[in-house]
Subunit: 285 residues, 2 copies
């Protein structure tokens, strides 16, 4: 199946990401349905014309009609949903997700899934500090990465369709990684950074420091405002890869501390020059 | 001396900060002179009307005429300058600085300084990732903090004048701290954040990660592009306070790591909620 606008798309989980997907895809003319927990999210999405129809129930017709189902749920809820309701999916349907960890999820879902439905996993690397469908925006994906994580079980067609979906959504960079490569990458680039931010934010609770802060501290702690339910789950689901990245960070931080203790200025300057050089690679192009 | 526009101001060290000071103060009508290392900086500042006169020499007339001298130099160069040239300062002159560490500098300078000249230290908490007088801007100080760090040797008049200077420059928040309080604060809010950023930037040198990065990693490493000469000196000059902050960070990071290893989700969520709550204090007002 290649994405064409005669296809019906179902979004399960209408939060910030699900809502933003709906907003972009609706504009292309797809028929969009949604299933989510709160009636208020459905009401909002209908009133803003993000979706054509939606429900808080497990609606057999809506599920059975969908050619493409996008799961925008917490990892364990996604797994539970498939366990309980996969019988309702249309034969030949393609399902994909937005889950931020892959190794622990992708194989589990593919293992349990019916043979006539294919799951191709993807991670849209975009987010905001706010959540909920009310904060949906069609501007969120420009400049961002969309990573498809196929396994040996996936067909070339499903991989193509999923990459096409990423491009339709407006992601600037659509690529593939194995689930393992993805988890290592995300452990470093996203999860380790969140670990650092929450540690920095909580390691010194002296009062009144906000009166003296500059932009550096604000930048390093922007993501210290964090959805505790989601991130604690993501951390645990990617435990091994994240611990490995935490250890890399700890070792290097310890090196820096020893250089400071011994006043090894040359060593510190060398590290700073390498840091400066590497940072240039990460500038927005 | 209260700052009035009949006073002559000398800026020693015409880089990003010195140049930005000149730009703002010149607009108020002060007579601004400058002494700096490179003739090209003087030429630029003259052509842009940031200063009235300037030289790369130790000019006795210019130094002897200044009522207020602002030192915008690296810490050790500032100390050397005072050792060598303080005899040229006008009797009754007030001197101040922009140095990012205080304990190691303020007492040393006040100790060696002539009795008829007063040094009142200040730290303008503003900066950019670029340096040099060519990047001077009069927009840099709005929203930023200006911290005066008086000691028992300072007169109330000098403290007042220095605070008035901070307000004239356009800083939004002008306060005083003891040199020791300042160094602890700066060790945490500024130096620790730079230590973290350069560690994160250098702890994993796997290739191609820039293709997958999101804004979180970019935010946490913005300041990983760093002036190695200046920051290694600032770190060493504030060694004790910075090591203390690094240890606070290490202890808390270790706590988080243990919670992840033991899958203590409640503990992680508690830390994340505290992080979220504290981060709200640091929002720009």
């Amino acid at each position: 199946m290649i994405v064409d606008i005669s296809k019906k798309i179902l979004i399960v989980g209408l939060g910030l990401l699900g809502g933003s997907y709906a907003k972009v895809l609706k504009r292309f003319g797809f028929h969009i349905s949604a299933i989510t927990k709160e009636q208020s999210s459905i009401d909002y999405a209908l009133s803003e014309h993000l979706i054509d129809e939606g429900t808080t129930e497990i609606d057999e017709r809506i599920i059975g009609e969908a050619d493409l189902v996008i799961f925008a749920l917490y990892p364990h809820i996604f797994v539970e949903w498939i366990e309980k309701h996969q019988g309702l999916l249309k034969s030949g349907a393609l399902i994909t997700d937005v889950t931020g960890v892959k190794g622990k999820i992708v194989y589990k879902i593919q293992e349990m899934l019916r043979d006539d439905v294919e799951f191709i996993a993807a991670h849209p690397m975009a987010g905001r500090e706010v959540s909920g469908v009310e904060n949906s925006t069609d501007k969120m994906f420009s400049g961002a990465n969309y990573i498809v994580t196929p396994t040996a079980k996936n067909t070339p067609e499903a991989i193509q369709t999923c990459m096409e979906l990423g491009r339709l959504l407006g992601f600037s960079n659509v690529t593939t990684l194995s689930p393992e490569e993805h988890d290592e990458m995300i452990g470093f680039l996203s999860q380790l950074t969140h670990c650092i931010a929450i540690t920095l934010m909580t390691c010194n609770d002296k009062e009144n420091m906000e009166k003296f802060t500059g932009d550096s501290f604000r930048d390093l702690t922007r993501i210290a405002r964090i959805n505790d339910l989601m991130w604690s789950e993501l951390f645990v689901e990617n435990k091994e890869a994240l611990l490995e990245q935490m250890n890399l960070f700890i070792d290097k931080f310890h090196e820096l501390k020893v250089m400071l203790e011994t006043e090894d200025v040359d060593g510190m300057r060398k590290m700073m020059r390498y840091s400066t050089e590497r940072r240039a690679l990460f500038d927005k192009k």
